[in-house]
Amino acid sequence: MEDITLKAQGIKTSFQTSEGKVVAVNDVDITIREGKILGVVGESGCGKTVTALSIMRLVPEPNGKIEEGRIEFMGKNLLELSSEEMRKLRGAEISMIFQEPMTALNPVFSIGYQMKEMLKLHRGMTDEQATERAIELIDMVGIPRAEKVIKEYPHQLSGGMRQRVMIAMALSCDPKFMIADEPTTALDVTIQAQVLELMKDLNEKMGTAIMFITHDLGVIAEMADDVVVMYAGKVVEESNAISLFHEPKHPYTMGLLRSRPDMLEEGEELQSIKGMVPSLLRMPEGCPFNPRCEHRMDICVKEMPQLIEVKPGHKTRCWLYDDKGGK
């Protein structure tokens, strides 16, 4: 049995909106193995980001609320920590980088300030030590002229540079675990590849476990050891990356694979998934995917399927693989 860095079970997070309560994440389990990369994939609005924010305990208050669940990390249940204890973990042991590098850095503070702030806070460094470490980190993420860059402000850097700074910042205190929420979506394709490579590299070098959120299966194929596929606030498939790409089980996962030209096997046809992600306010009865599913059965519109293990280490939430589903 391998060591587990973080294990989240049964997370349920809801939001109060003007149209009523919305459950954005419903009974989600996430397991991240030490030093590995877990890819979380799904269309926008499927609850990937909310899952991440729930782990960080940064769900926007007062409208958002983690209702149920347990998040085990370093022998503690994160959901039971006081907010002060949680704050001390953030940045030091768990860190996060975001989708929009253009807006994620504070425009009125220098890069150096924003980096050193964390080092002083979590590692108790003096200003000089922090400066030295900041330069080292900037250098490590492949930004030239590190001494100069720490004196610069976010608007003076390009998007790719800023994302590198975010990565350097997130890794500055040697956290055990990092969440990357679509870190390359906003970047140019060429820059994307560089940043991905950098993250993979640092993951190997520093042994930081990463939860990598993306809607792009190609990125998952490149980065992830394990994969979780989410749809409408639920986990619909969970497996290691190889098994998932070779033997996708859930019709949604198959659909996602067929909609990408680079994922097709020879002779297969490029297709898109029909229909749209349902609004969280108007969830269909039964399996949330049923209105778009080509294998829809009677039971699919009545009852939500369970997440079942179809082969060792490979789980899916679909009636096709359930005895009750008729197969």
Partner: protein
Amino acid sequence: MKKYLIRRILILIPILIGVSMIIFALIEAMPGDPYSDMIDPTVPPDLIEERLEAMGYFDPLPVRYVRWLGRTLRFDFGYSTNYGAPVSVIMLNRLPNTLILGGFALLFSTIVAIPLGIISSTRQYSVVDYIVTVFAFIGLSIPAFFFGLLMIRYLAFELGWFPIAGTGAGAGYEGVRMLLHRAHHLVLPVVVLSLLSLASLMRYTRSSMLEVIKQDYIRTARSKGIKEKVIIYRHALKNALIPVVTVLTMMLPSLVSGAVLTETVFSWPGMGTLMIDAIDNDDYPLLMGITMMLAIIIVFANLLADILYAWIDPRIKYD
């Protein structure tokens, strides 16, 4: 930074010219002949003509404007027809009083309004927020001079807590006692003059903070484990202050306007009361001098704000 400042200074020139033209045109339009007051009534009419001629009264308008502007640039505003002394001397006598009043009002409203605005934004929809909002509405709606009159009636006359009028200068005190005596006189005028700017600054700080708190970089700061207090008072506030500085500069003209009324209410011997004096007495050189002086003060205060801007917002410094 240098480029930015030079650009800001260059923009000031057309503004000052425009302002001066408006002032000159308005004063030209005023009824009455200012020069007649300057001349002894026993002087025969043909001599009056000659004197007026000598003063340049019959020159065409543009010539008079250019001459006036030229002298203004040399800080020569002519002679007050009412006081019979150089306008610049009279103004310099009164200016400190107005600067003290306005300066303290600005200081007072800033140090009260910004913290209240922050507290009210971090506790949106709480009791504190509600009280601050209602107070802001009252401050924006009550005519400051009426508020001043109420203060005089109830706090000065009825309760005797504060003096009724004046600056308290010349009471014969010295040292600390003099300062205290003058500060005592300053309280009501400063509170009255601050009221409007206090209220609007509070509203702007609140909405600016609410806007900033929603930004991504605040979430980043939280994900870094920064303490909530530091996030609010450092990360958020520095960003929120950028639009607040704009509002602060936009408030300066209304502060000057407010000073005219506040000075009237409290018989405060400043530029405001001097201006009303000048209007009542058809003292045109003095009136022109005062308005121009106030315009210059405001324009330079704006420049100061621009510098403040660049200091807060690095994006300006490096453009």
